[in-house]
């Protein structure tokens, strides 16, 4: 019955329905992860600071994200006087759209990927470079000098770290010999020592740290900077528009964690490759690695004091970019001479 109904649909509609279903299957778990990531953040940081963290709403505080979401949804959205309405409301959308769209090319295992395109690494680079617009537009459209100055700060930071990140990705595509994320993971097949974290160790560190800076997270969260400036570019935002900025920030953190595990830690490949049962590649490994790097984001926040702004800029331009360029030469040489173990 259902099959015959399905068959009666035109082919174009069938494809559309399948694609939409896949998108839902990615976005819904992602949004749930974002919601519970905020809870995990408060719990983990609470634990590290010897506090309890949220424990009032629901059993052990498990319903806290739902309560937060409901609160934010029903809060009034205040438009500042003389603010540019269209851009003011559009800015949060512009920051969440790239954060979600990038997930289209993330492979979850050998076959589970929404769009298996050839240039998926380039696509990721292009989309993550887009995120800075949400920040700039938010700062400008608020018609407030605090927001504008905050936007300039974080935009300059994001642009600086994007370059180092891009160079680190160039190293990965050199080593993997492909722009396709799935192929890059396959190129790391072998054992835990075949994964790219070892030959590309400096690039991996640069990528991870730049990822933290790119998402404006502690210790690079001068955009937030609660002790110096109020909240940077989103100081005028309230209610749902404010919440969307945070959704974007957390979705970006998860994206960086997923990309780190794909590009440098073998994605869905098992660390015990060759061992029966445990050595099978599976979605489970990918999620485990991603969860670890997501935890690292929280760990950093609880551990490091905030960077001074001039030190952030110095680290990005004068330390990371030279490191990546030098290591690109090393990787290029290793690929040319077909260095045994990794590139043969």
């Amino acid at each position: 019955m259902i099959e015959s109904l399905w068959g009666a649909l035109p082919e174009a509609l069938q494809t559309t329905i399948v694609i939409v279903a896949k998108i839902v299957a990615i976005v819904v778990p992602l949004m749930l992860t974002v919601a519970y990531y905020t809870l995990a953040e408060r719990k983990v940081i609470g634990f590290m600071q010897v506090r309890i963290g949220p424990n009032r709403v629901g059993p052990r505080g498990l319903l806290q994200p739902i309560a937060d979401a409901v609160k934010l949804m029903f809060k009034e959205i205040i438009l500042p006087t003389n603010a540019n309405r269209f851009l003011f409301v559009g800015a949060p959308l512009l920051s969440i759209a790239p954060a979600l769209a990038a997930w289209a090319v993330i492979p979850f295992n050998e076959t589970w990927v929404l769009a298996d395109i050839d240039a998926s690494l380039l696509y990721i680079l292009a989309l993550t470079s887009f995120g800075v617009y949400g920040v700039i537009i938010a700062g400008w459209a608020s018609n407030s000098k605090y927001a504008l100055l905050g936007a300039m700060r974080s935009a300059a930071q994001m642009v600086a770290y994007e370059i180092a990140m891009g160079f680190a990705l160039v190293g990965v595509l050199l080593a993997g010999g492909s722009l396709n994320l799935g192929d890059i993971v396959q190129a790391q097949s072998g054992s835990i020592l075949h994964w790219f974290w070892l030959p590309l160790f400096p690039l991996m560190m640069v990528y991870l740290i730049s990822g933290v800076a790119e998402t404006n997270r502690a210790p690079f969260d001068v955009a937030e900077g609660e002790s110096e400036i109020v909240a940077g570019f989103h100081v005028e935002y309230s209610g749902m528009t404010f919440a969307v900025f945070f959704l974007a920030e957390y979705a970006n953190m998860i994206l960086i964690a997923a990309l780190t595990s794909l590009l440098f830690f073998g994605g869905w490949l098992s660390p015990f490759q060759g061992v029966p049962l445990l050595g099978e590649p599976s979605l489970f490994w990918f999620l485990l690695k991603t969860a670890f790097f997501m935890f690292c984001f929280l760990w950093f926040r609880a551990t490091f004091p905030r960077y001074r702004y001039d030190q952030i800029m110095r680290l990005g331009w004068k330390v990371f970019i030279p490191i990546t360029i030098v290591w690109l030469l090393v990787v290029g040489l290793a690929v040319v001479v077909e260095l045994p173990w990794w590139f043969d």
Binding site: A12, D118, A119, L122, L125, A155, E162, Q311, R314
Partner: protein, 201 residues
């Protein structure tokens, strides 16, 4: 009409609209956003032509970097529209003249045999595993290597020129040296002195 044709017309229409708004917009910041929209739509057109590398690079370089710097500058400037319109009458004939010249030149090129439909009539769709990036790279680093290198040198020159223009050292400017700041030890900064206590009297 196939789906890709529909997509083409949507992209093309938005592109032309955005390009027109770039020059008719009164607010310079809006004009920059329309330019971003125009870039995105032309990237979409390139994707339709299966030039995914060019499309992604356009977004990455122009939308992600160049336009951000544009926005920085435009937002910081307080542009007075009335002042800009002052010379309108004087410059209009020159502008119209250059515009006509550009249209004539483009018409000449587009109508020439190099762009004739016969020449592109037998375009083939490349198979799915054809890598546009690889093809571009292999031509760029072999056939056109000199042009490529010269372009790179010109870009480096531009970087050096920009740095040379902005890097001014005045004798009184003070800089922080992070290496020295980091390597500071307690002994360099703290000196413990024994102060003899006063006699109680």
């Amino acid at each position: 009409m196939g789906f890709d044709k529909l997509v083409f017309y949507v992209f093309a229409a938005v592109l032309v609209f955005a390009a027109l708004r770039v020059i008719t917009c009164r607010n310079p910041v809006h004009a920059v956003f329309y330019l971003v929209l125009a870039f995105l739509n032309s990237a979409g057109l390139w994707l339709l032509l299966e030039a995914e590398f060019l499309a992604m690079t356009l977004v990455l370089v122009y939308v992600g970097a160049v336009m951000v710097l544009f926005l920085f500058v435009v937002m910081m400037l307080d542009i007075n529209v009335a002042e800009m319109r002052a010379g309108m009458r004087r410059f209009a004939p020159v502008g119209v003249g250059i515009g006509i010249l550009l249209v004539v030149e483009m018409a000449l090129i587009v109508r020439s045999s190099a762009f004739s439909p016969e020449k592109f009539g037998n375009l083939v769709r490349s198979p799915a595993d054809y890598s546009n990036t690889k093809a571009l790279g292999s031509v760029l680093y072999t056939e056109h290597v000199y042009a490529f290198e010269i372009a790179a040198v010109i870009l480096v020159l531009a970087i050096i020129a920009a740095i040379a223009l902005t890097l001014r050292k005045r004798p009184k400017t003070r800089y922080q040296d992070p290496a020295r700041q980091v390597s500071v030890r307690r002994e360099d900064r703290v000196r413990l002195v024994d102060v003899p206590s006063e006699k109680r009297g």
